[in-house]
Amino acid sequence: MFNRETWIEIAHTVTANPLRTALTGLSVGLGIFILVVMQGLGFGLQNGVEQDFGDEARNTVWVRTGRTTLPYRGRQPNRYVQMRNEDEQRITEQVVDAPAWSGRRMMWGSTVGYKNEQGNYPIVGVEPDFDELELLPLKGGRWLHADDLAKESKVCVVGENLLDELFKQDEAIGAFITLRGITFRVVGHFSKNGRWGNSMVYVPLTTMQRVFNGSDEVDQMVLSTGDLDLEGSQAMVEAVDGDLRMRHSVHPDDVRAVRVRDNQEEYAMFERVFTGIRLFIWVIGGFTLLAGAIGVANIMAIVVKERTVEIGVRKALGATSGSILSLIVIEAIALTLISGALGLIAGVATLNAVAPYAEHDYFADPEVNLRVTVTALAVLVVAGAISGFVPALRAVRIRPIEALRYE
């Protein structure tokens, strides 16, 4: 059945009917192509969002403040709500029971110098727990210690961009650099995903408060929710939010002045969105497959009809029903398989071609789900085989003379 002769016969009929070969190929190939591209894009979207979250541990609550937008308790709007060390202390000691936390303060565009090199980088003041809250994979040296904060040491941990841009070949650990004109010693360096992350210079929050602006201001606060579930983390959010609003006289409805964001909740929301997207892709993919299968079935039905007289002739020349059946079925399988494979290749090629242009915060590394694609291809091939088999069976069952007379 699968001998060379059969394949020569098939190659012949396939090339002899270019239009229908093209049509079958298109309906199957396009189906697989669409499926591959959609799966890939969906995957890329999910990848992107997950990478974005990858920076921050999922079980964290971020606390930010801003200007008030509503008058409250006799205070005018447009007042900046500034958190201070005392807020952080009160919240972590009295309001919530967080296993880890850190205040955070950022100074954008700070001049950083090393020997004759210099550049602009953000300096971030944090506390020792911070590397648990925002994942900073250490590549050398050490992270900031509690001791550094207590002593207000002038030490820093730098992102890998500084290694490339300032230190070049030099060893960074132990080197001295100037941050806004003040000398710090580099004690560690890290590398993480994302564009901004690797340009950061982390210093002890206490050091920053003392040497750069002599204040007790904290810009943001990050709290770990430990292994609390969504309900627990939500309770934590509410406690922190309520405390800050009370202390700083912020209207309960003022969404700008106090913003407490729960990563866990946000991630759960993205999860729901992705479940939706995945479902959508499945539905679209299912319909695409169905359309492809119907297309193949239609074309095969027409093909067999068109070839009824030929079937009669072949029978008159001594062909058995089995040989004609296997010819048509193998032909259908070969056609769907080859065009499906072409669709797959085209889909992967398209994804690969598009990927570099589609780099975005919420999009990364579109990938082909091979299992899904191969399943889809198998479904189409089976559909092709059946849709060749059924009309062919009907055609070979009639007496040869009826096939010969067919119009």
């Binding site: 029978k315 008159a316 020349l317 029903s321």
Partner: protein, 239 residues
Amino acid sequence: MLALRGIEKSYPLAGGSLPVLKGIDLNIVQGEMVAIMGSSGSGKSTLLNVLGLLDGFDSGGYDLDGVDMAGLSEKQAARYRSQFLGFVFQSFNLISFKTALENVALPLFYQKVPRRERQKRAMEMLGKMGMDDRADHLPSELSGGQKQRVAIARALITSPRVILADEPTGALDSTTSSEVMEVLREVNASGITVIIVTHEADIAAQCDRTIRLHDGVIIEDGKSGEVVEPTARGARSQD
């Protein structure tokens, strides 16, 4: 070689059935060249198709080479068609997307002859038909007479014992017709039984024996010269 005993066949029609063969008794021996004549609708093609195992029959008996053909399985019928019988049709029935050579070689494919051998024998057969220079042509690139030569070559390629031809010259002009008849006579001269359905008296006249059908029964059967009557000549002039 071929023996029919009381063959009856009718086609189912809406509200009844149409009897087409009403008890045919016929014996054809190896090496005969037989013409089947008769007016349109008399059942000539039906008879030939029964002889060629392309169609079944309702009752009666059919022995081919001493074997009863009644109740033959589809697979066995295919084997007999492959080994014993060759067909030539009025409308040639060449496979349009295959070249002359491939058309001629096709029956050997169903006899599982290796490709090289198939090509060689098909080329030889085309040569005998004077068609070897057209081997690579598609049927659409051939004239009617050329197509029929290819069809005859295809029918002969398996060295069948019987050639069945339904109006083989029906689509050809008279010069081409006589060329095709010449070929068929040569085929017959090599010992192959040839059975031709025709309307034309001068075609029948080139056969050894003529059978005349009328309304599903054989009304005349004899040496060609004796059977062909003026009515048949009249029928021909109307073509």
